[in-house]
Structures are given as C-alpha cells and as structure tokens.
C-alpha cells in the first residue's frame, strides 16, 4: 500500500526451486552453498554444521559457507540476505524460529535459489525440501519408553526442560506427557528449567533431589541436562535409584550415545541433524538435476546400552 512494496509472505506462488532445476548446470558447475545456522552454541547444531562439512567434502563441486545467527532471528535474516548478496547457488537453513525467517526464505526461493530447510520448519511452502525429525514424536517415544520399559508399575518422574519458549522444549514436553499418559502410575512430580545447559541441569537437579525423596526417572530435554542431573545424583549418592534419559544422542565424545554406553544414561533418543541428508539433497538438485520430495522426515532411534556403540560408529562418530 501507499507506494510501498511488501516483503510480507503470501505475495507469490512462483515455483522458484523448479526454475533453477531447469537451468541446472550439472556436474560441470562449481556451487556455492550457504548454510545459515541458528546457533552453533548448541552442540546439536554444531554437529549439524560438522555433518554438512564432512558430507560436502566428498563433493568437489561444492563449497559451503557457514553463518551463525547466534540465536537471533534478526541476525539470521541478515545472514540470508548476505548470502543472497553473494549470489549463492543453494541455501540450507536451520531456522531459529519459523515465522521470522519465512519472509527472507521466501525471497530466496522466489529469486530462484533452491532452499533446504533443516530441523525447524518455516511457514508456507516456499522451500524446496524440508528435512527434519519430529520433536513431539521423540518426546512421545521417550514417554512411552518410561511408561512401558522403565516404570511399568508406575513411579515418579522429574522433567528438566530446555529454554522456555523454544519450540523443541515445548514439543518434547508435550510429546512426553502424551507418551506417559497410558500409564496412570507415572507421575511428573517436579520440573526444572535447565536452559539446555549441563551446569543448570546440575544445579536444578540438586535442589529437586533435596525437595523430593522418591525419584525414579529424570527425563531431560537434552543429553547435557541429563548428564548434569546424573552428576548431581552422584554427589547425592542416588545414582542407583534413578534412571536418566535424554534426547539428541550426538555421535561425539561429549554426546549422549557415549553417556549411554558408559552407563550414565539409561537411554537417549537420536535426534538426527539431517546434515548429511541435506548435502545429498543438494547434490540431487545441483549436480543430478533431479526433482526432490518436498519433505524428508527422519526417524528417531532409541539408544540403549545394547546398541550404543554400534550406533556411534554408524552415525559417523570418531
């Protein structure tokens, strides 16, 4: 309105992604891929970058530029704008949040840049492919594991939550609640906010152990907080009575798989980064000039002592 042009969504329906496929240069081209990461401060997201880096190394035509938005939506918008200014050939983005990144991703898509959205969705369908797992689903799997395997006869659960207001924290919480709803004996008796951090998981757990004599399971929204809770239990001498479960299961030394393998955590759930899959998709789009599916949903996997070391190598851990 009034001599202005709107960047707001809903303006366009152009099939940008398909257009580029038409101009596809194939294996002879050199491609600059922009990878816009929401926050490398999270181990999971650092791992996503590492996975992309490792996978892209095998493809000589690819050069990947990484940007870190440090958890800020505005910064991520700028990061994408800067990529566009440089003329990238493909955008991989793991958005910090959906709504704020939608407009700029749409812009990229409409300018003909194929877009692969990782982990968190954006609104609308102006992207080439979404690759991700379902946090609610993982939460549910965790809940069911607690309700069926760990506490079939019921018991007391403590939940350590991620950063309030973040989507994964909400979904992992909701999913878990659904997962345990089948077993009336399982009750969440205390919650703490650990903001995804090991140290805060530890100090929250310290206080919760003091206030609650009977705890059977600690469910943490990620592995670092579960490890923090384990450390707190260690100093309270209560590691034997409590089972600890986390989420993420990164295939790195400080990740959850190792913690399960070494017996600190009873279980964790793989939250796949999708990094390798994203590079595969990029290869299909740019080099093979192929059409790709709109969505690629990655499955979670339960990690227990039995399969931990196997999975570690399978997922590329060193």
């Amino acid at each position: 309105a009034c001599g202005t042009e709107s960047d707001a969504p809903g303006v366009d329906d152009g099939e940008g992604g398909e257009d580029t496929a038409a101009e596809c240069e194939g294996p002879d081209g050199d491609y600059l891929i922009g990878m816009s990461q929401a926050n490398v401060g999270e181990p999971y997201r650092q791992q996503m970058d590492d996975d992309i880096r490792a996978a892209a190394e095998d493809i000589p035509q690819f050069e990947v530029a990484f940007a870190d938005a440090a958890q800020d939506n505005s910064t991520q918008v700028s990061d994408v704008e800067n990529f566009l200014a440089q003329g990238i050939d493909l955008l991989i983005i793991s958005p910090n949040e959906a709504a704020p990144l939608t407009a700029v991703v749409e812009r990229a898509y409409n300018e003909g840049v194929p877009v692969i959205v990782l982990d968190r969705k954006i609104e609308g369908d102006s992207y080439t492919q979404f690759i991700g797992a379902d946090n609610a689903e993982i939460g549910r799997a965790a809940g069911e594991y607690v309700a069926e395997e760990l506490l079939p006869d019921g018991g007391n659960v403590v939940e350590l939550k991620g950063l309030p207001g973040s989507t994964p924290a909400q979904e992992r919480s909701q999913g878990f609640a659904e997962g345990i709803s089948g077993n009336d004996g399982v009750e969440i008796i205390a919650e703490g906010v650990g903001n995804w951090l090991r140290a805060e998981g530890q100090s929250q757990a310290d206080a919760i152990y003091q206030a609650n004599p009977d705890i059977d399971v600690v469910y943490a929204h990620n592995d670092p907080m579960a490890e923090g809770a384990y450390l707190a239990a260690e100093s309270a001498g209560r590691t034997d009575e409590i089972d600890f479960i986390g989420i993420d299961a990164l295939p790195i030394p400080s990740g959850g798989i190792k913690a399960v393998e070494e017996g600190r955590l009873s279980a964790t759930f793989v939250y796949p980064t999708g990094g390798r899959e994203a590079v595969e998709t990029a290869e299909q789009i740019l080099i093979e000039c192929a059409d790709v599916e709109k969505e690629q949903i990655l499955e979670t996997q339960l990690v227990t002592q039995e399969n931990a070391s196997e999975l570690y190598t399978e997922l590329g851990g060193q």
């Binding site: 001599g3 709107s6 707001a8 870190d68 003329g87 949040e97 709504a99 207001g165 909400q170």
Partner: protein
Amino acid sequence: MTQTATPATEGTTRRRFVIPAKVFAVQSYLALILVVLAAVIFSPRRGGDVVFLAPENLLNIIRATSEIGIIAIGMTFVILVGGIDLSVGAVLGLAATGSASLLMVNGLGVLPAVAIVLAIGLAFGAVQGFITATFGIQAFIVTLAGLQIARGLARIWSGGQGVPIAYGDGPGTAPEAFALLNSRTFNGTVPIPALIFLAVGVIAVLVVRHTVFARHVYALGGNERAARLSGINTRRVKIAVFAIAGLLSALAGIIHAGQLNQGSPNDGIGYELDAIAAVVIGGTSLMGGIGSIPGTIAGAVLLGVLNNILALNNIDSNVQLLIKGVIIVVAAGVQAFRPGQR
C-alpha cells in the same frame, strides 16, 4: 580508569590556541570511515561490482542496524547522565511480544496497539529511573533486574511462545498497515525501519542541540553536584532519560515484530551489549557528561558494516568473533585517541 572520550560535540572552542571542535567532529567518524574503507577493499566482487557497495547491500545494513541504532540512541541519554540500561533488549522483547499479542490475540488496531506498547516501554523505563534516582541504587543492578522482569512478563504474556503475525481482515489477523514495517518505500528501495531510525536520529540530534533538557542531561553527567546546586531537578532528569530509553526500546521492539512477522519473548537477547558498544564506540564516556548522538549513530552503523563485511566474506564464525573483537577495540581506540591528550 582513564576514560578519554570525545568532548561534547556542541560548543566550538574559539580560543586561539585550541583546535576547533569541528576537527574532532570528523574524528568521531574516523573509525567508521576506516571500517567502511576496509569493507570496500575486502568486499567480494561479483561480475566486477563491489558487492559491499551494491545499494541493496547498503540498505540491508541500515535495515539490520536500525533496531540497535534506535536503542543505542536512547542508551546514549542514559549513559550521558552516568547511568546504564541493561533492560533494553528485554524491553524490546516485551514490546515485540506485546504488539504481536495485541494485534493478533486482542485484535487491536495498529495505532492503539502501538500506543499501548510505547506507553509500556516508557513506563517501564521511568520506573527504573525512579528507583535508581530515588533510592540511590546503582542503575546497573536496577536495570539488570528490569531485564529479568521484562523477560518474565513477556513470557507470561505470550505463554512462553512467539506470537506469529499474519495479515488479513478476519479475526486472528493483523491489519495490513502493520506490514508497512516490513516494507520498503521509494519504489521498494528504502526499508521503512531505516527511515524510522533516521527520523529518531534527527529528532535526537535536535533535542540534544536545542533543548534545555539536554543541557541538564550533560550537566548532570558532568558534575551532579553542580547540577543540583544550580537548581536542576536531577531526579526528574534521571527518570526522563530512562523513560526515553524505555520508549525507544519499545519502538525498536515494534519494528522488530514488524520486520520478523512475529513477537517472541526471546527477542532482543544480548542487544544491550551491542547498544552499549555502539554508544561507546561513538565516543560517549561511561562516566557520563561526554558524548554525542551522531557518534552513537556512527558507532551503530560501524558495527553493522563490520557484521556485514565479515559475513560477505564467509569468514568462519569463530574467526569472526576474534576479528570483531579486535576491530571493536581498535575502533574504540581510534575514537578515544586525541592528539595532545594523555
């Protein structure tokens, strides 16, 4: 600490043997000029064109700078009286969440929503100023608490989640007018937030140059006792500067919501440090009494250019941290350097 900083821009010293302040005025932008030059030199080129200088890139920088810039202008007033405001980022988040909620959940029109949010920001700042000025509690701690409170209020308001903004006519949509904040004028070139930043900057410069209030701000920061003895109501001045900071943070929050089509309680985390950095790089002394608005604007733009050129060169984000750190210190050093001063 030895705090050497730009003298107040106004008031040219006309004594024969004193170098006129005009020379220093150029120096206020020296760091910015150097950084821009470096950006041009190190910019990637695309088909012979300097990417950094592409109009669209420059406008992107200004758009990206506008929120921090607006906050930093409010912060300048607070720092001029020797205070500090750590709550600005949280107030931005509160305002962004608030405006999104008022538009989407409460179905208010743009004007009432904006007015309410600005009033909240103003009041929030004024209360912080009141507490600092009345009880003699250090501004750092009052606004650190204010940060937590604003963040908590924002989370409670939205139930902890971001509130996305969708446009339309029906219920649960926001009026199209709000989308203006995410649009560009002059044939779709100049982003509206950049214009608002410009307007706020011009108003602030005029306020500093021409109002009695601004003179009292500088006096209070320069020598509080002298200001009180001159009959200035120092408490009122302090409350006013914090209120200004709150108001401008709320304005930035509204812009934030408009630009990102969402208001989230986690918006603006850490913006306080960027805003203070812009103010300090702009030559304002944290001890109060010395500083200027144009300096602050230059400082904010410098940070924006720096972020942009590092990103354009695809420098590894960890190495970026190192480079940014070094350049910020050098920029502050360039600004602090005055020939003939120790």
